[in-house]
């Protein structure tokens, strides 16, 4: 259980030889692949190495990357939520209605986050109170939330957003550095600190590794799980604010299929699907990797079907590779 002990490792550097084990950490591997792909892109496309190109590229994955952070927490805690794309759609539709009713941008953003929060709460209650397995519960809400979005606006469109709303998904903080990117990096740092340096983070790992042992040792397992669901819902609402702002309009088909892309990011980032292991750094690197690979290929006009194959191949390849080189502890649980 190397991740749990990442902070422990730091305190006991002399415990083991510095060499191979450290080099073969998942994050190191991912980092190397990111650098490799970055260099390859720069070599293959004359347009890649421009600050604006790189900034543009970041728009394609930041919203999903932001959702990947709380999703990582949830998967580490041993649960999963596949309703996040639909949560975004439902949040976006309600934001559209609020904007249509004449409310200003702060109210619109608040609506998005609160709708996400409530959606997350529903998932949390289903899992922790009604004891529905999370995958089943969220398959249900996946259809339910998307259905609500379609029921409200059908094949219509909501686009009465005020001009200043465009900032969240299209604005820049400084030069080519977008608001979305800054928000992602800030959130990543906060999530990393909470997960890797606090008691709360330690307990989340413990819950995922062995929920029964965690409960017996006095951790309020259900409360933790519930609040992570709520957090993921709220962040999905936030991502919906960003995406809606970027599109400048809402249709009920918004963010279709994003749940799997978010989960792909998390798994590629080295978070064990069985729970109990992983790091935020890994998730950030995998988001960068997916962004880099897909944008690099699309600059070369490689068709999207090939992109999908590459992403799938990457996932299987990296997971298999880590398994082959014998990740000490990574594959071992309980």
């Amino acid at each position: 259980m190397s991740t749990l002990s990442s902070s422990v490792q730091a305190r006991e550097p002399a415990r083991k030889a510095f060499g191979w084990k450290k080099l073969l950490r998942w994050e190191t591997l991912l980092g190397l692949v990111v650098i490799l792909d970055f260099l390859l892109n720069a070599k293959l496309s004359p347009y890649f190495l421009s600050p604006w190109t790189l900034s543009d590229a970041s728009f394609n994955f930041t919203e999903r990357a932001i959702m990947a952070l709380p999703m990582a927490l949830l998967i580490i805690a041993g649960e999963i939520d596949i309703s996040v794309g639909s949560t975004m759609a439902m949040a976006s539709v309600l934001m559209g209605l609020v904007a249509q009713a004449g409310f200003g941008t702060p109210m619109v953003c608040l609506t998005g986050v609160v709708v996400g929060l409530i959606a997350g709460g529903i998932n949390g209650v289903l899992v922790t109170v009604f004891r529905v397995p999370s995958i089943v519960a969220t398959i249900g809400t996946l259809s339910l939330f998307r259905g609500v979005a379609y029921a409200v606006i059908g094949d219509g469109v909501l686009k009465s957003y005020k001009p200043d709303f465009a900032y969240f998904g299209q604005g820049y903080v400084w030069g080519p550095v977008s608001f979305e990117l800054v928000l992602f990096l800030v959130l990543a740092i906060i999530f990393a600190i909470v997960l890797h340096t606090t008691v709360t983070g330690r307990r989340i790992f413990a819950i995922g590794a062995n929920p029964i042992a965690a409960r017996l040792s006095g951790i309020r397992v259900d409360a933790y799980k519930f609040w992570i669901f709520v957090l993921l819902g709220a962040v999905s609402g936030l991502a919906s604010v960003l995406l809606t702002s970027r599109l400048g309009s809402t249709r009920p088909s918004i963010a279709t299929g994003w749940e799997l892309e978010v989960i792909t990011m998390v798994i590629l980032g080295g978070i064990s699907i069985d729970g109990g292991q992983g790091s935020i750094l890994g998730v950030v690197l995998s988001a960068l990797l997916i962004g880099c690979v897909t944008f690099g290929l699309s600059l070369l006009n490689v068709p999207g079907i090939v992109l999908a194959i590459v992403t799938g191949g990457l996932l299987i390849g990296v997971v298999a590779l880590s398994s082959i080189v014998g990740y000490s502890g990574r594959r071992r649980r309980h």
Partner: protein, 335 residues
């Protein structure tokens, strides 16, 4: 280092730098105009045909490169990613068939802000997000074409005909039928006896067409300005064993109508030609890159003649293309 040595070294460094640049597939050739052609989704025969037309135009104009691309599924988000990468390749023009007229506006504005000429074809982008829209046809042209098809289907251009439309509230179909009625006086032999509605559903359309055949035994032609209605009507005629007495025509897809053309219930029908659409779109895009102004002007589009855009930047390419026994099989493979 002496002066000559310095020049030599500089030349060597520049030469080395030029080599990798030469390998890059997407680098720009001198003076080349690059047009990004964005489909609703890849793997759709219609857009493969559009690309074919675009390549034809590119060859004719010369020094034009078409970058044909699109998302895997028909989503606005996917198209935005594709447009983003075209912007970063510094293409000269982007032509889009939009999956969502509104959601693409911000990214298209961004493209235009960076000096790229953005147009839409087939399915429009909102007015703020494009310079012009190349519509495959217009209500006026379609209505007239439907009259012409009815006259061609009736023996000697004379006889009773009926219309199997979509729903009573279908905006497109109602506009086309209004135009048909307006120009009907040009065909004195034709008499419109009834307009019925099949609701764009196969079984409703079939039932309405069958009822027409019973009610008007001397009916010569059924016109259906709906791709569902035309197929259902043709089936009704075949099932009523009236092939040769009653002909069906209208707007339909070659792949769906080919069988009925073979069976003899459809002589000819029409729909826009995607090859021509890609061809005309490319010409318009290149015209704009070369400095032409869009809205309110007529732009030449090669063998199609020219296309005039109204003040809102919408232009209709041509009358719908007519398909019959001679070409339906060829196009049935496309869409």
């Amino acid at each position: 280092m002496d002066r000559r040595g310095f020049i030599k070294t500089t030349a060597a460094v520049l030469g080395a730098a030029a080599v990798p640049a030469g390998f890059a597939g997407s680098a720009r050739a001198a003076g080349e105009i690059r047009v990004g052609l964005v489909a609703k989704s890849l793997g759709n025969g219609f857009f493969v045909a559009v690309d074919k037309g675009a390549e034809e135009a590119a060859k004719q104009i010369g020094n034009v490169k078409i970058i044909f691309t699109g998302p895997t599924s028909t989503t606005a988000e996917g198209q935005i990613e594709v447009i983003q990468s075209l912007i970063d390749q510094h293409v000269d023009a982007i032509a889009i068939s939009a999956n969502d007229p509104d959601a693409l506006v911000p990214i298209c504005k961004r493209a235009m802000a960076r000096g790229i000429k953005v147009i839409s074809y087939d399915s429009a982008v909102g007015q703020d997000g494009r310079i012009v829209h190349v519509a495959p046809s217009s209500d006026e042209l379609i209505g007239q074409a439907l009259d012409k098809l009815a006259a061609a289907a009736a023996p000697d251009g004379k006889g009773k005909f009926a219309i199997v439309s979509a729903t009573p509230t279908s905006t497109n179909q109602n506009a086309w039928i209004a135009v048909m009625k307006k120009y009907l006086s040009q065909y004195p032999g034709l008499e419109l006896v009834s307009t019925v509605y099949g609701n764009d559903l196969a079984d409703d359309s079939y039932r309405e067409a069958t009822a027409l055949l019973q009610k008007y035994p001397d009916l010569k032609v059924i016109v259906s300005p709906s791709s569902v209605g035309i197929v259902a009507s043709a089936k009704a005629v075949e099932d009523a064993k009236k092939v040769g007495q009653v002909y069906v025509t209208g707007l339909g897809l070659p792949s769906e109508c080919a069988g009925h053309v073979e069976a003899g219930s459809i002589k000819s029908f029409a729909i826009w030609n995607p090859i021509d659409l890609g061809y005309a779109t490319t010409y318009v895009a290149v015209d704009l890159v070369n400095g032409a102004k869009g809205p309110g002007n007529s732009l030449p589009d090669g063998r199609m003649g020219k296309i005039s855009f109204d003040a809102n930047g919408v232009g209709a390419m041509a009358v719908p293309f007519t398909y019959d026994k001679s070409n339906v099989e060829q196009f049935a493979k496309i869409f």
